[in-house]
Point group: C2
Chain length 481, copies 2
Amino acid sequence: MGDVNEFKDFAKAMVDYVGNYLENIRDRRVLPTVEPGYLRPLIPETAPDTPDTWQEVMSDIERVIMPGVTHWHSPKFHAYFPTANSYPAIVADILSDSIACIGFTWIASPACTELEVVMLDWLGKMLDLPKEFLACSGGKGGGVIQGTASEATLVALLGAKAKTMQRVKEAHPDWKDSDIIANLVGYCSDQAHSSVERAGLLGGVTIRGLPADDSYKLRGDALEAAIEEDLKKGKIPFYVVATLGTTNCCAFDCLEEIGQVCRQKDVWLHVDAAYAGSAFICPENRYLMKGVELADSFNFNPHKWMLVTFDCSAMWLKDPSWVVNAFNVDPLYLKHDQQGSAPDYRHWQIPLGRRFRSLKLWFVLRLLGVKYLQEYIRKQISLAKEFEQLVRSDDRFEVIYEVLMGLVCFRLKGPNEINEKLLKRINGNGKIHLVPSKIRDVYFLRMAVCSRYSESSDMIYSWNEIKTLTEELLKEEKEKA
Amino acid sequence: MGDVNEFKDFAKAMVDYVGNYLENIRDRRVLPTVEPGYLRPLIPETAPDTPDTWQEVMSDIERVIMPGVTHWHSPKFHAYFPTANSYPAIVADILSDSIACIGFTWIASPACTELEVVMLDWLGKMLDLPKEFLACSGGKGGGVIQGTASEATLVALLGAKAKTMQRVKEAHPDWKDSDIIANLVGYCSDQAHSSVERAGLLGGVTIRGLPADDSYKLRGDALEAAIEEDLKKGKIPFYVVATLGTTNCCAFDCLEEIGQVCRQKDVWLHVDAAYAGSAFICPENRYLMKGVELADSFNFNPHKWMLVTFDCSAMWLKDPSWVVNAFNVDPLYLKHDQQGSAPDYRHWQIPLGRRFRSLKLWFVLRLLGVKYLQEYIRKQISLAKEFEQLVRSDDRFEVIYEVLMGLVCFRLKGPNEINEKLLKRINGNGKIHLVPSKIRDVYFLRMAVCSRYSESSDMIYSWNEIKTLTEELLKEEKEKA
């Protein structure tokens, strides 16, 4: 299919297909019923020598792909956290895929770098980030699009490592690199995402998970005590990740307390607001990011909750030079005359290549507008609160954490086992999809509002499904007893 | 723009726009004339509160974006290596963006994982990779889509590191991790891509660039000597990257020799065939990958030369468990009942999230077919050879490396400075775009055949542009003298 007219026909048929798929997604079973290995027998063992027609490919979507799709954009999908999807972002990607430049240097496509710089300023202003993070302030700071929050955590860790290595080596020129690295310690809450531990594994440094308080927040005093303890042992504290909106229960670490400790101890503070960061476009939520001016780097995922399709993880750094210098290996074929007058984003990230992802941000922000996005966030939070009320109205259940964003954590009163059974039954029935979590040996269910199609009636639907299956389960348990 | 009918109108207008853009790309100036900072004044300082119309966005593409685009798909673009683009891949991404699942576990969308497993088998068979790399062989091996070759190099390095750490710790339970890591040494040719050095920086281990031979290939004896030397010093050789098709001049390391040394010394061998790997779909090129059965991991980028849009970097591992175990941090919310019966690809890569990228492979392989892709590669190689003949026909020039793939390395006979001046003039004129390279103090120009629109007449056009500017330059130099 090299012909442009065939492309136009096929692409337009696909546009109709996906529009209809999304508008009717509510009618599909959210979880597939297939077993592992289902797909291989449905297609040939090798690629065809001569081309199939696009109509054949089109008809295979319902036959081969859809039976194995978990429908993340169904209002019946409540697992993990949302991943974003919107019409403007899909159209932007058509353009991005067609320009198909690799934006590793400014000259490799100036528009790709420059739109990203300005879009991260637009976005930073929407969150009211301190101006030290914005390129338009004329200082060192600026933003970049990473693929995922995991990568942002790793990039910040590597910047913090480079900065600390330099400081320590200036003070102790005789110390060996390997000894310094072996003594570096980073910190996060024991509620932080698994990607923080993983960043430590990848970067070859120790990360300590510190006990969060009774509200699952990391506090300044716990951090300070850990740092003091490590300093006494001759360790070198170098990096702290504060989470705003944990994956387990959407808890917010006490950023201001943590930030003050980091300032005092000269430790790099990275803020991971992957999910909840989108909510800071609403001024009423910004109390939860108080202290952000004390951070060195800040990250959230518009591809989670701000309707920009994956991947688009926004990261800001007050001083990107630590990251740039950590990564800088500059062969001749990547040098160009304008070096230094615009960021060469390849130095800000793990991979070398990068897509023209800022187009998605530009299209979404322009075609939806800030007010719409604010109302979208507010509506999703209010739907979670509606669901919370439904749970609270039933004495058999308990809500186990305050509902601040679009996540409700709840459980059947009683042992973990009954909750495990309930979840298995819910996902087995496949009408709605939830995942569990566990904090301090308490197992619970997470109901995240994930879909841009979610309405009040969906909260009632999901609650009724849970209630029905609970009743079935409790009846059976009673009969067994 | 939340309305589906508006989406359909906008998306179809965009399909028409990009079809026309690509079909007429030859008429655009390949390099933009903008200066750094050009874009910011063209758009507002903040995101709009209320939405713009899609027609406004559409008309801003030519006003704001296109003036700053380097047209990678123009047949006048000869810089770097190609990045792929094709109509089937663009349509596949519309579907991928709409399903918009995050394929971090099997259950998160079984189709996303399973199509990837089978597509990597299809692709591996097209290259005639040894069956130990293929999932369909029923062994441990299998393939995965990474974002970039840089990530594949890093992932393999981390697997090699984990494997070696375990072996060394079993033999020396009293050795400290930090001491072992400080002694690990990886190897590559001094012609290897900068991302290998970078992978060493990221993974916190030493990578030695070894001298390639006079044909810029890494040989077995050079590797063996380096390993012997390091073993005598008490170092721990753990990782070798062999490059098939270097970025500088498309040289091929002697894989078979290197592989035998790696086997003998029990060192992980990773093959980076980022660009040239696509050529192995043609049997006549496979002599260049002789010895691949000795490798532990193999990587090439269909997003470079096989018409699958970025990002799609195909990687195979004979034993993925070393990588999986190095990365495995498994929180409850990511556990599922089918664990173990299908790969959970999040353990195979640096980020946690991942798009449904195998759709692009499926669409491209089905809608173009293997024969078309083989002919495509053959045609691009023959175009490079045509260009080579044009250069050779002019006594003022020399071709400095054999032309095996789609890259011609050439220079004006004489000092580097005159070649630097020539390149500046070529890119300044902006009709065609090339980048330089330098090996052992010899500066030269690289002409890569990059576009799927490239024809014989484009080779003549580009050569005439170079010749015209050479004549201008030589005349001016003579006048100055």
